[in-house]
Amino acid sequence: MNAAAPFLEVRGLSKRFGSLRALDGINLDVPHGGLTALIGPNGAGKTTAFNCISGALRPSEGSIRFEGHEIAGAPYHRVARLGVVRTYQVVQPFAEMTVLDAVTVGALLHHPRVSEARAFAGETIEALGLGSKRDTIARSLTIADKKRLELARALATEPQLLLLDEVMAGLTPTECAAAVELLRGLVAREITIVMVEHVMEVLMPLADHVVVLATGKIIFDGKPRDAVNDPAVIDAYLGRP
Protein backbone atom coordinates (compact mmCIF):
# COMPACT_ATOMS: atom_id res chain seq x y z
CA MET A 1 0.00 0.00 0.00
CA ASN A 2 1.16 3.43 -0.90
CA ALA A 3 1.48 5.35 2.35
CA ALA A 4 0.70 8.63 0.63
CA ALA A 5 -2.51 7.30 -0.94
CA PRO A 6 -5.61 8.93 0.49
CA PHE A 7 -7.98 6.70 2.45
CA LEU A 8 -11.00 6.98 0.14
CA GLU A 9 -10.71 8.97 -3.04
CA VAL A 10 -13.65 9.28 -5.45
CA ARG A 11 -13.11 10.94 -8.82
CA GLY A 12 -15.67 11.79 -11.50
CA LEU A 13 -18.14 9.21 -10.23
CA SER A 14 -21.30 9.00 -12.35
CA LYS A 15 -24.19 6.61 -12.34
CA ARG A 16 -26.95 6.71 -14.92
CA PHE A 17 -30.19 4.74 -14.87
CA GLY A 18 -31.46 5.07 -18.42
CA SER A 19 -31.68 8.81 -19.01
CA LEU A 20 -31.62 9.63 -15.30
CA ARG A 21 -28.29 10.83 -13.94
CA ALA A 22 -28.39 9.70 -10.34
CA LEU A 23 -24.77 10.73 -9.80
CA ASP A 24 -23.14 13.33 -12.00
CA GLY A 25 -19.37 13.31 -11.75
CA ILE A 26 -18.83 13.60 -8.01
CA ASN A 27 -15.39 14.02 -6.41
CA LEU A 28 -14.98 13.12 -2.78
CA ASP A 29 -12.10 12.63 -0.38
CA VAL A 30 -12.59 10.91 2.94
CA PRO A 31 -9.61 11.06 5.29
CA HIS A 32 -8.78 8.21 7.63
CA GLY A 33 -10.59 8.45 10.98
CA GLY A 34 -13.53 10.54 11.96
CA LEU A 35 -17.04 10.78 10.69
CA THR A 36 -18.14 12.23 7.39
CA ALA A 37 -21.79 13.09 6.98
CA LEU A 38 -23.27 12.74 3.53
CA ILE A 39 -26.50 14.67 3.44
CA GLY A 40 -28.93 16.01 0.91
CA PRO A 41 -32.60 16.11 -0.02
CA ASN A 42 -34.56 13.07 -1.19
CA GLY A 43 -33.34 11.67 -4.49
CA ALA A 44 -30.02 13.51 -4.27
CA GLY A 45 -28.09 10.29 -5.00
CA LYS A 46 -26.82 9.48 -1.49
CA THR A 47 -27.81 5.84 -1.53
CA THR A 48 -26.60 5.49 -5.12
CA ALA A 49 -23.22 6.82 -4.02
CA PHE A 50 -23.14 4.20 -1.24
CA ASN A 51 -24.14 1.49 -3.68
CA CYS A 52 -21.29 2.44 -5.99
CA ILE A 53 -18.65 2.76 -3.27
CA SER A 54 -19.64 -0.50 -1.56
CA GLY A 55 -19.69 -2.42 -4.82
CA ALA A 56 -23.43 -3.11 -4.97
CA LEU A 57 -23.66 -1.13 -8.22
CA ARG A 58 -21.19 -0.73 -11.05
CA PRO A 59 -20.62 2.98 -11.68
CA SER A 60 -21.18 4.32 -15.21
CA GLU A 61 -17.97 6.34 -15.04
CA GLY A 62 -15.31 7.40 -12.63
CA SER A 63 -12.85 5.94 -10.19
CA ILE A 64 -13.11 4.96 -6.54
CA ARG A 65 -9.83 4.25 -4.76
CA PHE A 66 -9.73 2.82 -1.28
CA GLU A 67 -6.26 2.83 0.31
CA GLY A 68 -4.87 2.91 -3.19
CA HIS A 69 -6.96 -0.02 -4.52
CA GLU A 70 -9.29 0.73 -7.42
CA ILE A 71 -12.67 -0.60 -6.30
CA ALA A 72 -15.04 0.94 -8.87
CA GLY A 73 -16.99 -1.97 -10.35
CA ALA A 74 -15.24 -4.55 -8.16
CA PRO A 75 -17.45 -7.40 -6.91
CA TYR A 76 -19.44 -6.53 -3.82
CA HIS A 77 -17.91 -9.20 -1.60
CA ARG A 78 -14.37 -8.23 -2.58
CA VAL A 79 -14.94 -4.61 -1.56
CA ALA A 80 -16.20 -5.88 1.78
CA ARG A 81 -13.05 -7.97 2.19
CA LEU A 82 -10.94 -4.88 1.63
CA GLY A 83 -12.68 -3.35 4.61
CA VAL A 84 -15.51 -1.24 3.14
CA VAL A 85 -18.81 -2.44 4.60
CA ARG A 86 -22.23 -0.81 4.49
CA THR A 87 -25.64 -1.04 6.09
CA TYR A 88 -28.92 -0.68 4.22
CA GLN A 89 -31.43 2.12 4.41
CA VAL A 90 -34.18 -0.50 4.25
CA VAL A 91 -32.90 -3.21 6.58
CA GLN A 92 -31.89 -6.47 4.89
CA PRO A 93 -31.64 -8.97 7.73
CA PHE A 94 -31.14 -12.69 7.19
CA ALA A 95 -34.76 -13.13 8.15
CA GLU A 96 -34.72 -16.79 9.20
CA MET A 97 -31.45 -16.69 11.14
CA THR A 98 -30.98 -15.93 14.82
CA VAL A 99 -29.26 -12.70 15.77
CA LEU A 100 -26.10 -14.55 16.79
CA ASP A 101 -26.00 -16.61 13.57
CA ALA A 102 -26.56 -13.55 11.38
CA VAL A 103 -23.76 -11.62 13.06
CA THR A 104 -21.55 -14.70 12.89
CA VAL A 105 -21.82 -14.53 9.08
CA GLY A 106 -20.13 -11.14 9.27
CA ALA A 107 -17.58 -12.28 11.83
CA LEU A 108 -16.52 -15.21 9.65
CA LEU A 109 -14.91 -12.76 7.22
CA HIS A 110 -11.82 -12.41 9.40
CA HIS A 111 -12.36 -15.33 11.80
CA PRO A 112 -12.50 -18.42 9.58
CA ARG A 113 -13.00 -20.75 12.56
CA VAL A 114 -16.69 -20.95 13.40
CA SER A 115 -16.13 -21.12 17.17
CA GLU A 116 -13.99 -17.96 17.13
CA ALA A 117 -16.43 -16.20 14.82
CA ARG A 118 -19.33 -17.03 17.15
CA ALA A 119 -17.40 -15.76 20.14
CA PHE A 120 -16.53 -12.53 18.35
CA ALA A 121 -20.11 -12.16 17.11
CA GLY A 122 -21.29 -12.64 20.70
CA GLU A 123 -19.01 -9.80 21.88
CA THR A 124 -20.21 -7.54 19.08
CA ILE A 125 -23.84 -8.21 19.94
CA GLU A 126 -23.15 -7.53 23.61
CA ALA A 127 -21.43 -4.24 22.78
CA LEU A 128 -24.44 -3.09 20.78
CA GLY A 129 -26.86 -3.98 23.57
CA LEU A 130 -28.47 -6.88 21.71
CA GLY A 131 -27.14 -9.48 24.15
CA SER A 132 -30.55 -10.49 25.46
CA LYS A 133 -31.78 -11.15 21.91
CA ARG A 134 -28.93 -13.31 20.66
CA ASP A 135 -31.18 -16.32 20.03
CA THR A 136 -34.12 -14.36 18.61
CA ILE A 137 -35.00 -14.94 14.95
CA ALA A 138 -34.10 -11.77 13.02
CA ARG A 139 -37.51 -11.47 11.40
CA SER A 140 -39.27 -10.97 14.72
CA LEU A 141 -37.07 -8.06 15.93
CA THR A 142 -38.34 -4.49 16.20
CA ILE A 143 -37.15 -2.00 13.57
CA ALA A 144 -34.68 -0.43 15.99
CA ASP A 145 -33.25 -3.84 16.85
CA LYS A 146 -33.08 -4.83 13.19
CA LYS A 147 -31.02 -1.72 12.54
CA ARG A 148 -28.80 -2.61 15.44
CA LEU A 149 -28.47 -6.14 14.09
CA GLU A 150 -27.47 -4.79 10.73
CA LEU A 151 -24.85 -2.57 12.33
CA ALA A 152 -23.60 -5.52 14.40
CA ARG A 153 -23.32 -7.68 11.29
CA ALA A 154 -21.30 -4.98 9.53
CA LEU A 155 -19.11 -4.31 12.58
CA ALA A 156 -18.41 -8.01 13.01
CA THR A 157 -16.49 -7.89 9.73
CA GLU A 158 -14.11 -5.44 11.45
CA PRO A 159 -14.41 -2.83 8.70
CA GLN A 160 -12.03 0.06 8.20
CA LEU A 161 -14.63 2.15 6.44
CA LEU A 162 -18.22 1.85 7.54
CA LEU A 163 -20.98 3.23 5.30
CA LEU A 164 -24.12 3.80 7.34
CA ASP A 165 -27.30 4.46 5.38
CA GLU A 166 -29.87 6.20 7.61
CA VAL A 167 -29.28 4.13 10.73
CA MET A 168 -31.12 6.74 12.77
CA ALA A 169 -34.31 6.89 10.72
CA GLY A 170 -37.30 5.60 12.60
CA LEU A 171 -35.59 5.61 15.99
CA THR A 172 -37.08 7.31 19.05
CA PRO A 173 -35.10 10.27 20.54
CA THR A 174 -33.75 8.01 23.32
CA GLU A 175 -32.65 5.40 20.81
CA CYS A 176 -31.07 8.16 18.72
CA ALA A 177 -29.07 9.39 21.69
CA ALA A 178 -27.85 5.85 22.34
CA ALA A 179 -26.90 5.49 18.68
CA VAL A 180 -24.91 8.74 18.81
CA GLU A 181 -22.95 7.43 21.81
CA LEU A 182 -22.33 4.21 19.93
CA LEU A 183 -21.00 6.08 16.90
CA ARG A 184 -18.64 8.11 19.10
CA GLY A 185 -17.32 4.81 20.42
CA LEU A 186 -16.69 3.53 16.91
CA VAL A 187 -14.85 6.68 15.91
CA ALA A 188 -12.73 6.32 19.04
CA ARG A 189 -11.83 2.81 17.80
CA GLU A 190 -10.47 4.42 14.61
CA ILE A 191 -13.23 3.13 12.35
CA THR A 192 -13.85 5.69 9.65
CA ILE A 193 -17.54 6.35 9.13
CA VAL A 194 -19.44 7.85 6.24
CA MET A 195 -23.00 8.36 7.19
CA VAL A 196 -26.02 9.18 5.12
CA GLU A 197 -28.69 10.91 7.10
CA HIS A 198 -31.75 12.89 6.21
CA VAL A 199 -31.83 15.00 9.30
CA MET A 200 -28.94 17.41 9.62
CA GLU A 201 -29.44 18.16 13.32
CA VAL A 202 -28.58 14.62 14.40
CA LEU A 203 -25.27 14.68 12.64
CA MET A 204 -23.96 18.17 13.11
CA PRO A 205 -22.49 17.64 16.58
CA LEU A 206 -20.91 14.35 15.48
CA ALA A 207 -19.53 15.04 12.05
CA ASP A 208 -15.99 16.20 11.38
CA HIS A 209 -16.82 16.80 7.79
CA VAL A 210 -20.02 17.39 5.82
CA VAL A 211 -20.69 16.67 2.17
CA VAL A 212 -23.97 17.85 0.67
CA LEU A 213 -25.38 16.18 -2.44
CA ALA A 214 -28.19 17.59 -4.54
CA THR A 215 -29.49 16.11 -7.80
CA GLY A 216 -26.39 14.00 -8.26
CA LYS A 217 -23.82 16.73 -7.67
CA ILE A 218 -21.79 17.78 -4.66
CA ILE A 219 -22.79 21.29 -3.72
CA PHE A 220 -20.90 21.60 -0.47
CA ASP A 221 -17.86 19.98 1.08
CA GLY A 222 -16.52 21.36 4.36
CA LYS A 223 -17.01 21.93 8.09
CA PRO A 224 -20.46 21.34 9.62
CA ARG A 225 -20.87 24.88 10.94
CA ASP A 226 -20.20 26.31 7.47
CA ALA A 227 -22.73 23.98 5.89
CA VAL A 228 -25.69 25.43 7.76
CA ASN A 229 -24.88 28.91 6.54
CA ASP A 230 -24.05 27.99 2.94
CA PRO A 231 -26.56 29.55 0.52
CA ALA A 232 -26.41 26.62 -1.94
CA VAL A 233 -27.18 24.17 0.85
CA ILE A 234 -30.05 26.25 2.13
CA ASP A 235 -31.39 26.48 -1.41
CA ALA A 236 -31.20 22.76 -1.92
CA TYR A 237 -33.06 22.07 1.29
CA LEU A 238 -35.64 24.83 1.15
CA GLY A 239 -35.94 25.29 -2.58
CA ARG A 240 -35.54 28.61 -4.34
CA PRO A 241 -38.20 31.16 -3.48
Binding site: F94, A95, V105, G106
Partner: protein, 325 residues
Protein backbone atom coordinates in the same frame (compact mmCIF):
# COMPACT_ATOMS: atom_id res chain seq x y z
CA UNK B 1 -31.14 -31.40 16.55
CA UNK B 2 -27.62 -30.85 17.83
CA UNK B 3 -24.60 -32.40 16.06
CA UNK B 4 -24.37 -34.90 18.91
CA UNK B 5 -27.93 -36.18 18.50
CA UNK B 6 -27.44 -36.32 14.71
CA UNK B 7 -24.34 -38.40 15.33
CA UNK B 8 -26.21 -40.66 17.72
CA UNK B 9 -29.02 -41.20 15.21
CA UNK B 10 -26.48 -41.95 12.49
CA UNK B 11 -24.72 -44.44 14.75
CA UNK B 12 -27.98 -46.29 15.44
CA UNK B 13 -28.93 -46.43 11.74
CA UNK B 14 -25.48 -47.63 10.69
CA UNK B 15 -25.26 -50.30 13.39
CA UNK B 16 -28.77 -51.56 12.67
CA UNK B 17 -28.23 -51.78 8.93
CA UNK B 18 -24.77 -53.31 9.35
CA UNK B 19 -26.27 -55.99 11.60
CA UNK B 20 -28.91 -56.62 8.93
CA UNK B 21 -26.26 -56.83 6.22
CA UNK B 22 -24.18 -59.32 8.16
CA UNK B 23 -26.93 -61.42 9.68
CA UNK B 24 -29.85 -61.50 7.24
CA UNK B 25 -29.06 -63.16 3.93
CA UNK B 26 -32.19 -62.37 1.99
CA UNK B 27 -30.81 -61.09 -1.32
CA UNK B 28 -34.06 -59.32 -2.21
CA UNK B 29 -34.21 -57.32 1.00
CA UNK B 30 -30.50 -56.54 0.96
CA UNK B 31 -30.77 -55.31 -2.61
CA UNK B 32 -33.58 -53.00 -1.59
CA UNK B 33 -31.52 -51.70 1.33
CA UNK B 34 -28.55 -51.15 -1.01
CA UNK B 35 -30.63 -49.17 -3.51
CA UNK B 36 -32.21 -47.24 -0.68
CA UNK B 37 -28.78 -46.24 0.65
CA UNK B 38 -27.59 -45.24 -2.84
CA UNK B 39 -30.67 -43.05 -3.20
CA UNK B 40 -30.15 -41.59 0.26
CA UNK B 41 -26.61 -40.59 -0.77
CA UNK B 42 -27.80 -39.24 -4.13
CA UNK B 43 -30.61 -37.34 -2.45
CA UNK B 44 -28.13 -35.88 0.05
CA UNK B 45 -25.71 -34.82 -2.69
CA UNK B 46 -28.64 -33.15 -4.43
CA UNK B 47 -29.74 -31.59 -1.14
CA UNK B 48 -26.36 -29.86 -0.78
CA UNK B 49 -26.76 -27.89 -3.96
CA UNK B 50 -30.56 -27.67 -4.30
CA UNK B 51 -31.43 -27.47 -0.62
CA UNK B 52 -28.59 -25.79 1.23
CA UNK B 53 -27.28 -23.75 -1.71
CA UNK B 54 -30.77 -23.17 -3.14
CA UNK B 55 -29.86 -23.94 -6.78
CA UNK B 56 -32.34 -26.50 -8.05
CA UNK B 57 -30.77 -29.17 -10.24
CA UNK B 58 -32.87 -31.41 -12.49
CA UNK B 59 -29.88 -33.06 -14.09
CA UNK B 60 -28.24 -34.72 -11.14
CA UNK B 61 -28.15 -38.12 -12.89
CA UNK B 62 -25.26 -36.67 -14.89
CA UNK B 63 -22.98 -36.94 -11.86
CA UNK B 64 -24.31 -40.35 -10.87
CA UNK B 65 -23.54 -41.39 -14.46
CA UNK B 66 -19.99 -40.00 -14.26
CA UNK B 67 -19.22 -42.38 -11.43
CA UNK B 68 -21.01 -45.35 -12.98
CA UNK B 69 -19.26 -44.88 -16.32
CA UNK B 70 -15.89 -44.35 -14.67
CA UNK B 71 -16.31 -47.71 -12.92
CA UNK B 72 -17.52 -49.37 -16.10
CA UNK B 73 -14.58 -48.06 -18.13
CA UNK B 74 -12.01 -49.00 -15.50
CA UNK B 75 -13.65 -52.42 -15.20
CA UNK B 76 -13.73 -53.08 -18.93
CA UNK B 77 -10.14 -51.88 -19.37
CA UNK B 78 -8.90 -53.79 -16.33
CA UNK B 79 -8.12 -50.77 -14.16
CA UNK B 80 -8.53 -50.85 -10.40
CA UNK B 81 -12.06 -49.98 -9.29
CA UNK B 82 -10.47 -47.96 -6.50
CA UNK B 83 -9.05 -45.60 -9.13
CA UNK B 84 -12.45 -45.33 -10.78
CA UNK B 85 -13.87 -43.76 -7.61
CA UNK B 86 -11.68 -40.61 -7.64
CA UNK B 87 -11.70 -40.44 -11.44
CA UNK B 88 -15.49 -40.34 -11.64
CA UNK B 89 -15.68 -37.89 -8.74
CA UNK B 90 -13.17 -35.55 -10.38
CA UNK B 91 -14.95 -35.54 -13.73
CA UNK B 92 -18.27 -34.91 -11.98
CA UNK B 93 -16.84 -32.04 -9.94
CA UNK B 94 -15.29 -30.49 -13.06
CA UNK B 95 -18.60 -30.70 -14.92
CA UNK B 96 -20.37 -29.13 -11.95
CA UNK B 97 -17.96 -26.20 -11.99
CA UNK B 98 -18.39 -25.79 -15.75
CA UNK B 99 -22.19 -25.64 -15.44
CA UNK B 100 -22.30 -23.64 -12.24
CA UNK B 101 -19.81 -20.97 -13.16
CA UNK B 102 -21.82 -19.30 -15.94
CA UNK B 103 -25.25 -20.04 -14.44
CA UNK B 104 -24.93 -19.11 -10.76
CA UNK B 105 -24.74 -15.44 -11.63
CA UNK B 106 -28.16 -15.64 -13.31
CA UNK B 107 -31.61 -16.26 -11.92
CA UNK B 108 -32.37 -19.73 -10.66
CA UNK B 109 -34.36 -21.17 -13.57
CA UNK B 110 -31.42 -20.67 -15.96
CA UNK B 111 -29.42 -23.03 -13.80
CA UNK B 112 -32.21 -25.61 -13.46
CA UNK B 113 -32.74 -25.74 -17.22
CA UNK B 114 -28.99 -25.81 -17.88
CA UNK B 115 -28.65 -28.89 -15.67
CA UNK B 116 -31.36 -30.64 -17.72
CA UNK B 117 -29.67 -29.58 -20.97
CA UNK B 118 -26.21 -30.76 -19.96
CA UNK B 119 -27.51 -34.10 -18.69
CA UNK B 120 -29.50 -34.54 -21.92
CA UNK B 121 -26.43 -33.76 -24.03
CA UNK B 122 -24.43 -36.30 -22.05
CA UNK B 123 -27.13 -38.92 -22.46
CA UNK B 124 -27.38 -38.40 -26.23
CA UNK B 125 -23.60 -38.36 -26.58
CA UNK B 126 -23.16 -41.59 -24.60
CA UNK B 127 -25.86 -43.20 -26.73
CA UNK B 128 -23.82 -42.44 -29.83
CA UNK B 129 -20.20 -42.86 -28.80
CA UNK B 130 -18.77 -46.32 -29.36
CA UNK B 131 -16.08 -45.97 -26.71
CA UNK B 132 -18.84 -45.28 -24.16
CA UNK B 133 -20.81 -48.38 -25.12
CA UNK B 134 -23.65 -46.56 -26.98
CA UNK B 135 -27.18 -47.53 -25.95
CA UNK B 136 -26.12 -51.04 -24.95
CA UNK B 137 -23.84 -49.85 -22.20
CA UNK B 138 -21.20 -52.03 -20.60
CA UNK B 139 -21.24 -55.45 -19.02
CA UNK B 140 -18.41 -55.33 -16.52
CA UNK B 141 -16.17 -58.39 -16.17
CA UNK B 142 -16.76 -60.53 -13.10
CA UNK B 143 -13.65 -60.71 -10.93
CA UNK B 144 -12.67 -62.79 -7.94
CA UNK B 145 -14.53 -61.33 -4.96
CA UNK B 146 -12.30 -59.17 -2.76
CA UNK B 147 -12.04 -55.69 -1.35
CA UNK B 148 -9.42 -54.91 -4.01
CA UNK B 149 -11.76 -55.81 -6.88
CA UNK B 150 -14.73 -54.19 -5.10
CA UNK B 151 -16.79 -57.23 -6.03
CA UNK B 152 -18.37 -59.48 -3.44
CA UNK B 153 -20.26 -62.73 -3.49
CA UNK B 154 -22.52 -61.58 -0.70
CA UNK B 155 -25.05 -58.78 -1.14
CA UNK B 156 -24.51 -57.80 2.47
CA UNK B 157 -21.02 -56.58 1.71
CA UNK B 158 -22.31 -54.17 -0.90
CA UNK B 159 -24.68 -52.88 1.73
CA UNK B 160 -21.69 -52.34 4.05
CA UNK B 161 -19.89 -50.35 1.33
CA UNK B 162 -23.01 -48.28 0.73
CA UNK B 163 -23.30 -47.71 4.49
CA UNK B 164 -19.79 -46.27 4.55
CA UNK B 165 -20.71 -43.86 1.76
CA UNK B 166 -23.98 -43.03 3.50
CA UNK B 167 -22.13 -42.26 6.73
CA UNK B 168 -19.73 -40.00 4.80
CA UNK B 169 -22.68 -38.16 3.24
CA UNK B 170 -24.42 -37.73 6.60
CA UNK B 171 -21.29 -36.66 8.48
CA UNK B 172 -20.52 -34.30 5.61
CA UNK B 173 -23.96 -32.73 5.98
CA UNK B 174 -23.77 -32.43 9.76
CA UNK B 175 -20.36 -30.79 9.38
CA UNK B 176 -21.61 -28.53 6.61
CA UNK B 177 -24.42 -27.22 8.79
CA UNK B 178 -21.94 -26.10 11.45
CA UNK B 179 -19.21 -24.88 9.09
CA UNK B 180 -18.34 -21.48 7.67
CA UNK B 181 -19.73 -22.63 4.33
CA UNK B 182 -22.95 -23.68 6.04
CA UNK B 183 -23.39 -20.21 7.56
CA UNK B 184 -22.63 -18.63 4.20
CA UNK B 185 -25.15 -20.79 2.36
CA UNK B 186 -27.88 -19.96 4.86
CA UNK B 187 -27.08 -16.27 4.54
CA UNK B 188 -27.12 -16.48 0.74
CA UNK B 189 -30.49 -18.22 0.76
CA UNK B 190 -31.88 -15.59 3.11
CA UNK B 191 -30.53 -12.59 1.20
CA UNK B 192 -27.76 -12.94 -1.34
CA UNK B 193 -27.08 -9.22 -1.66
CA UNK B 194 -26.86 -8.64 2.06
CA UNK B 195 -24.54 -11.65 2.32
CA UNK B 196 -22.26 -10.14 -0.31
CA UNK B 197 -22.25 -6.86 1.60
CA UNK B 198 -20.44 -8.57 4.48
CA UNK B 199 -17.92 -10.30 2.23
CA UNK B 200 -19.68 -13.54 1.27
CA UNK B 201 -18.70 -14.68 -2.24
CA UNK B 202 -21.99 -16.35 -3.18
CA UNK B 203 -20.76 -17.83 -6.44
CA UNK B 204 -17.69 -19.42 -4.83
CA UNK B 205 -19.78 -20.86 -1.98
CA UNK B 206 -22.30 -22.37 -4.39
CA UNK B 207 -19.60 -23.71 -6.69
CA UNK B 208 -17.81 -25.43 -3.82
CA UNK B 209 -21.07 -26.99 -2.66
CA UNK B 210 -22.09 -28.05 -6.14
CA UNK B 211 -18.71 -29.64 -6.91
CA UNK B 212 -18.70 -31.53 -3.61
CA UNK B 213 -22.25 -32.77 -4.20
CA UNK B 214 -21.41 -33.85 -7.75
CA UNK B 215 -18.38 -35.79 -6.49
CA UNK B 216 -20.50 -37.51 -3.85
CA UNK B 217 -23.11 -38.50 -6.45
CA UNK B 218 -20.34 -39.91 -8.63
CA UNK B 219 -19.10 -42.07 -5.75
CA UNK B 220 -22.63 -43.44 -5.39
CA UNK B 221 -22.64 -44.14 -9.14
CA UNK B 222 -19.36 -46.06 -8.92
CA UNK B 223 -20.62 -48.18 -6.07
CA UNK B 224 -23.89 -48.83 -7.89
CA UNK B 225 -21.98 -49.99 -10.98
CA UNK B 226 -19.82 -52.31 -8.87
CA UNK B 227 -22.95 -53.97 -7.53
CA UNK B 228 -24.96 -54.33 -10.76
CA UNK B 229 -21.91 -54.87 -13.01
CA UNK B 230 -23.95 -53.34 -15.81
CA UNK B 231 -23.94 -49.66 -16.78
CA UNK B 232 -26.14 -48.19 -19.51
CA UNK B 233 -27.51 -44.72 -20.26
CA UNK B 234 -31.14 -45.63 -19.47
CA UNK B 235 -30.48 -46.43 -15.84
CA UNK B 236 -27.72 -43.95 -15.00
CA UNK B 237 -28.03 -40.81 -17.14
CA UNK B 238 -31.63 -40.50 -18.28
CA UNK B 239 -33.97 -37.74 -17.14
CA UNK B 240 -36.18 -40.11 -15.08
CA UNK B 241 -33.16 -40.82 -12.85
CA UNK B 242 -32.60 -37.10 -12.34
CA UNK B 243 -36.27 -36.75 -11.52
CA UNK B 244 -36.10 -39.61 -9.03
CA UNK B 245 -33.11 -38.02 -7.26
CA UNK B 246 -34.90 -34.69 -6.97
CA UNK B 247 -38.03 -36.49 -5.74
CA UNK B 248 -36.09 -38.13 -2.93
CA UNK B 249 -34.64 -34.76 -1.94
CA UNK B 250 -37.91 -32.80 -1.98
CA UNK B 251 -40.17 -35.33 -0.30
CA UNK B 252 -37.85 -35.87 2.65
CA UNK B 253 -37.38 -32.17 3.30
CA UNK B 254 -34.90 -29.69 1.82
CA UNK B 255 -31.90 -28.47 3.78
CA UNK B 256 -32.27 -31.05 6.51
CA UNK B 257 -29.78 -33.72 7.56
CA UNK B 258 -32.27 -36.59 7.51
CA UNK B 259 -34.63 -35.48 4.72
CA UNK B 260 -32.91 -37.37 1.89
CA UNK B 261 -32.72 -40.57 3.94
CA UNK B 262 -36.45 -40.34 4.71
CA UNK B 263 -37.19 -39.58 1.06
CA UNK B 264 -35.15 -42.60 -0.03
CA UNK B 265 -37.01 -44.80 2.42
CA UNK B 266 -40.38 -43.70 1.01
CA UNK B 267 -39.07 -43.96 -2.54
CA UNK B 268 -37.83 -47.51 -2.18
CA UNK B 269 -40.99 -48.55 -0.38
CA UNK B 270 -43.21 -47.07 -3.09
CA UNK B 271 -41.06 -48.28 -5.97
CA UNK B 272 -41.13 -51.77 -4.47
CA UNK B 273 -44.88 -51.80 -5.07
CA UNK B 274 -44.97 -49.42 -8.02
CA UNK B 275 -42.63 -51.20 -10.40
CA UNK B 276 -38.94 -50.85 -10.89
CA UNK B 277 -36.21 -48.95 -9.12
CA UNK B 278 -33.53 -47.07 -11.06
CA UNK B 279 -34.33 -46.88 -14.71
CA UNK B 280 -36.95 -49.51 -15.31
CA UNK B 281 -40.38 -48.33 -16.38
CA UNK B 282 -42.84 -49.27 -13.72
CA UNK B 283 -46.55 -49.09 -14.32
CA UNK B 284 -46.56 -45.54 -13.08
CA UNK B 285 -48.45 -45.85 -9.82
CA UNK B 286 -45.27 -45.03 -7.87
CA UNK B 287 -44.76 -41.84 -9.86
CA UNK B 288 -48.42 -40.95 -9.47
CA UNK B 289 -48.22 -41.35 -5.70
CA UNK B 290 -44.85 -39.62 -5.50
CA UNK B 291 -46.01 -36.67 -7.59
CA UNK B 292 -49.14 -36.43 -5.49
CA UNK B 293 -47.05 -36.53 -2.32
CA UNK B 294 -44.88 -33.68 -3.58
CA UNK B 295 -47.93 -31.61 -4.47
CA UNK B 296 -49.38 -32.13 -1.01
CA UNK B 297 -46.08 -31.45 0.70
CA UNK B 298 -45.20 -28.38 -1.37
CA UNK B 299 -48.59 -26.78 -0.87
CA UNK B 300 -48.92 -27.63 2.82
CA UNK B 301 -45.49 -28.42 4.26
CA UNK B 302 -42.58 -27.04 2.22
CA UNK B 303 -40.14 -28.50 4.75
CA UNK B 304 -41.10 -32.04 3.77
CA UNK B 305 -41.31 -35.18 5.85
CA UNK B 306 -38.45 -34.11 8.09
CA UNK B 307 -40.41 -30.93 8.88
CA UNK B 308 -43.51 -32.97 9.70
CA UNK B 309 -41.31 -35.15 11.91
CA UNK B 310 -40.06 -32.01 13.68
CA UNK B 311 -43.63 -30.85 14.31
CA UNK B 312 -44.59 -34.23 15.73
CA UNK B 313 -41.52 -34.20 17.99
CA UNK B 314 -42.39 -30.73 19.29
CA UNK B 315 -46.02 -31.79 19.77
CA UNK B 316 -45.04 -34.89 21.72
CA UNK B 317 -42.59 -32.92 23.82
CA UNK B 318 -45.25 -30.33 24.63
CA UNK B 319 -47.76 -33.02 25.53
CA UNK B 320 -45.31 -34.85 27.75
CA UNK B 321 -44.34 -31.57 29.39
CA UNK B 322 -47.99 -30.87 30.14
CA UNK B 323 -48.61 -34.31 31.57
CA UNK B 324 -47.81 -34.27 35.29
CA UNK B 325 -45.25 -36.91 36.19
Amino acid sequence: MTPRSHGLALGIVVVALAALALGYHNAFVLNLVFVGLIYAVLGQSWNWISGYAGQISFGHALFFGCGAYASALFGVHHGSPWLALPAGALVAAALALAVGFPCFGLRGHYFSIATIAVAAIAEIAVNNIGALGKANGFEMPILAPSLASLQFDDKGQYVLMALVLFAIAQIGTITLERSRLGYYLRAIRANQEAAASVGVDARAAKLATFAAGAALAALAGSLYAQQTLYVGPEDTLALPISIAIALVGVVGGLSTVWGPALGALVYVALARYGGAVLGGQGHGLDLLLYGGLILVIVSWRPDGLAGIGGSIRRFVRRRSAETPA
